[in-house]
């Protein structure tokens, strides 16, 4: 049996609350900026929604996409296409000859085209079936971003869309890694996207009592590991990476950011929204990812935590890391970047993988902001306010993503 093929990251793209591309998003994250802001609409007043802020996208799609593209894609697909174009060019593949039969697209969303779904329902109720736009179905289906990315790059090895709530984006990247390892593709564009800053999902999340109500201080609202945390901040946007077999990247002389060396998946089989308080599923996902990478807990220097800033979620995760790594957890630098980006739901795991890749490449763990009083139950050293240097030499980093339904995904990122 041959060893699994090495999978490397050669391109990065994003559009997020921190910036309209991966470069400005990363720069803003290192600077500790917040993407959360007060919403400029009447939703709270009109519908009685108790949350008046969110981490909205920094650059509106109509500033970068053509008008017909806007009309044919739900915002979730628009974000994915913006991120894809950047990543594809960043990888040096714009205009290059890539064998479409060996090219895949894996782009996930946690929720799908909810703007299109709800606009369609309004149209039907108010104006009847003849006013329903024919593009409604291809815009609302949750595989729509994957399909548009597939069309954009000419991917014929397969287009896929994992749906696993807030783990979706990381699961998509893991699936892309597997496609290359098992020989189905040489190059895969993989990532996640979400566009749920719409009154219905915000009202629904608020009803579940999981959102921060810090309306008077949006930028300070997402505060994972702070004793005064009160829930997460809804974010929107997309991130994608170009994954490539190491051989394919070397053959074309591509710049390599990092390797995705391990993929670990598990499910809790415990509760529809709460993590297993023992953290068994989380530990299993991280352990499997490390085993898959041929790494051990001693090697881990950095973790980009899922850390949404709910008390139960954040503390379960650091307890899981401590349980897996034991005393080695004292040497890990923990970053909770949702403190700055908000929670991109189906886009979160992809953006945080992108951050982990950048962290390993630049040897800088991004900060966690808004932690005025760290929770005494926090069990791993936290990177606060300013970036922290990662050691030289071979390093191993983990990105954790966990979703409603008990989905756990851990990815191992190493230097190339």
């Amino acid at each position: 049996m041959t060893a699994p093929r090495d999978v490397v990251v050669t391109g990065l793209g994003a559009t997020t609350p921190l910036g309209g591309d991966a470069v400005s998003t990363w720069t803003a994250a290192l600077a500790g900026e917040s993407g959360a802001r007060t919403l400029e609409n009447d939703w709270a007043e009109k519908y009685g929604i108790p949350v008046t802020f969110a981490a909205t996208i920094k650059v509106k799609p109509d500033e970068v996409l053509a008008r017909p593209e806007i009309k044919r894609m739900d915002p979730s697909a628009q974000y994915a296409i913006i991120a894809t174009r950047e990543a594809w060019a960043d990888a040096g593949l714009a205009g290059a000859e890539v064998d479409g039969e060996r090219l895949g697209a894996v782009v996930s969303s946690g929720i799908g085209g909810i703007w299109t779904t709800l606009d369609g329902w309004d149209t039907l109720r108010e104006r009847g079936a003849r006013r329903m736009l024919p593009m409604t179905v291809p815009m609302l289906m949750p595989n729509s971003p994957a399909a548009y990315v597939e069309l954009e790059i000419g991917a014929r090895a397969g287009a896929h869309a994992m749906v696993s709530a807030c783990a979706s984006g990381a699961e998509a990247i893991g699936y892309g890694v597997e496609m290359i390892r098992n020989g189905r593709a040489d190059v895969v564009v993989a990532g996640g996207t979400e566009a749920t800053i719409h009154p219905m999902p915000i009202a629904a999340f608020a009803a579940s009592r999981t959102l921060s109500l810090r309306n008077d201080d949006p930028a300070g609202a997402s505060r994972p590991y702070d004793v005064d945390r009160d829930g997460f901040v809804v974010g929107e946007g997309a991130a994608v990476v170009v994954l490539e077999s190491a051989e394919h990247a070397a053959a074309r002389g591509a710049r390599v950011y990092a390797r995705i060396a391990g993929v670990g998946l598990s499910s809790d089989a415990y509760h529809i929204t709460s993590p297993d308080p023992e953290g068994r599923g989380q530990v299993a996902a991280m352990r499997r990812a490390l085993e898959n990478a041929g790494a051990t807990g001693r090697d881990v220097v950095h973790v980009n935590a899922h850390a949404t800033s709910t008390k139960v979620g954040d503390l379960t995760e650091t307890a899981s890391i401590r349980s897996l790594l034991g005393g080695e957890a004292d040497h890990v630098l923990l970053s909770a970047t949702k403190s700055m980006t908000g929670h991109l739901l189906g886009g979160a795991g992809a953006l945080e993988t992108l951050f982990t890749v950048k962290a390993v490449h630049e040897r800088l763990a991004p900060p966690t902001i808004n932690v005025a009083k760290p929770d005494p139950e926090l069990q791993v050293p936290l990177v606060r306010d300013v970036p922290a240097a990662l050691p030289a030499g071979d390093v191993v980093a983990l990105n954790n993503s966990f979703g409603f339904g008990g989905h756990n995904v851990a990815l191992v990122v190493t230097n190339a």
Binding site: A66, K71, R130, R131, M132, P134, M135, P138
Partner: protein, 82 residues
Amino acid sequence: MAYTDTEILEGLAEIVAEETGLPTDAVVLEKSFTDDLDIDSLSMMTIVTHAEDKFGVRIPDEEVKNLATVGDAVTFIAGAQA
């Protein structure tokens, strides 16, 4: 109020431009929707839906296949106005 043929053409051109990204002055009477303007069936149905809305007419599905050119559509919409 009935729209003149010129107004219908201008309105249609705006709808087609919005849907396809073509400039409005590319949408002229003799152009074929499929062969010249490269409009697929889904886009055609979207254009029909918007045209019905804009001009207050009904364009039955079985009629759409007869609307080969922009001119055909202008003629049909003009005739369908109350």
